[in-house]
């Protein structure tokens, strides 16, 4: 209990004093995660729509694979990305290991299946609803996909937010590929792991509370923005 209180007061102290180190790692957390969510959404949302609307040979297998990939252990993803990016690996020449870019790559791999899978479900349901109408109206495949994506945009936003939630709290993969280097690749989660390892539970917890608050604030903000756009229907 004592540790929890110390954590809370530590969090308050860090925020009130606008601690420079804190601001730096919060911003880096956001930079890495938001980039990863944007890239993963650009891949995952159309992918989900494509699988929902098109009949192709390995469709069922693709869906099964996607669902399996949702449960990828981040540590393993981190390990594989590490090997690929390490000096002797195939992409070693790019020199990306222990950079924020490497962390973004790992996170994209972790959350793209999640975003694609939720998007697929949402768009499949809407497609069942719209199917006859869109066929009757002589829409092209492209038009169908665009219509379905646009009309299910609220569910797709939820898909992206789920990806955000998973990415912002992830530590295993980015610890491996980022290395938790101060001023370079240290983010909230890796800092928490570090402070916990050092036994500074107060600071670790403080950072933890800030992480949770950050996730809540971002979710609320985005929901509020999209709500006003829809006139608060849902």
């Amino acid at each position: 209990m004592n540790d929890l209180w110390r954590g809370l007061s530590e969090a308050v102290r860090l925020i009130v004093s606008l601690d420079a180190a804190l601001i730096e790692i919060v911003l880096r957390s956001l930079q890495v995660t938001v980039s990863a969510v944007l890239i993963a959404s650009l891949i995952g949302l159309p992918l989900g729509a494509l699988i929902a609307v098109n009949r192709f040979r390995f469709r069922r297998a693709t869906i099964a694979l996607l669902n399996a990939l949702m449960g990828l252990p981040p540590v393993v993803v981190g390990l594989i990305v590490y090997i690929l990016l390490s000096r002797s690996g195939p992409f070693g020449v790019l020199g990306l290991l222990f950079t924020p870019t490497a962390m973004i790559i790992a996170q994209v791999i972790i959350i793209t299946p999640l975003i694609a899978s939720i998007a697929h479900q949402a768009i499949r349901d809407l497609w069942a609803e719209y199917h006859d109408l869109l066929i009757s109206l002589n829409t092209t495949k492209r038009q169908r996909m665009a219509t379905l994506i646009w009309d299910s945009r609220r569910s797709l936003l939820t898909a992206s937010l789920a990806g955000f939630g998973r990415a912002i709290g992830e530590v295993g993969a980015i610890m491996i590929v980022g290395g938790n280097i101060d001023h370079v690749t240290r983010v909230l989660t890796t800092a928490i792991a570090l402070e916990t390892g050092k036994g500074d539970f107060g600071l670790a917890l403080g950072l933890g509370f800030i992480l949770i608050a950050l996730a809540i604030v971002i979710n609320l903000t985005i929901h509020t923005i999209s709500q006003t756009e829809r006139g608060g229907r849902w």
Binding site: L126, E129, Y130, D132, L133, I135, S136, L137, N138, T139, Q143, T147, D151, S152, G231, R233
Partner: protein, 238 residues
Amino acid sequence: MVSDLLPVTAKGAVVRKGGKTILGPIDLAISGKGTTIVMGPNGSGKTTLLRLLHGLDRARDGSVSWNGAREDAHAAQAFIFQTPKMMRRSVLDNIAYPLRVRGASRKQARIKAEDWATRIGLGDALNRDAQALSGGERQKLALARALVTEPAILFLDEPTTNLDGGSTREIEDILSQALDTGTRLIMATHDIGQARRLADEVIFIHRGTMSAHQRATAFFEAPASQSAAAYLRGDIVE
């Protein structure tokens, strides 16, 4: 332009679903101007016949052919579903959608859509969410969305079921205006009075087969099948 697409001909056309034959074999040709009314008891296959002609259901055996390429024929048609399908958009954007699909600019499409919404009696509901409309309002929206593209052939699957007397009249007026501009109507209905008012010819479907296809005057005087006669008398036809 109607004469370009008609006649539509079904030759031994059969529709199967869920492992059983639900329609056919149907042999039929629809041509000329005016209104074809499709009648028959619940579950007889009216919806299936309309869907077959429009191309939403495929003939498992036999064929359906339009005078010209299937794609061209399909593009000149509109279909009003028995349960209207509302997109998750405003009333205005629902009606504008078919125009947008055909390449009209957003502005153009909206101007035309607003015009149709007003004609159909939804002028006050332009910015409302279509999915929050009542059953009757949905049917009106579906009619506006179908007519906005000025289709050569319009399929209507019981378009006035949820409407009160006044709204039914309004819609029948709009349909006769569409007829005047050359639109060909093919419409399923349960309403015998409506059939008498609108029909130029009647198709009667019973248990998945067509038991009568006659000019309207002939049909209502002397229907070509016993099931049709019983149906017109108000007997229970199964």
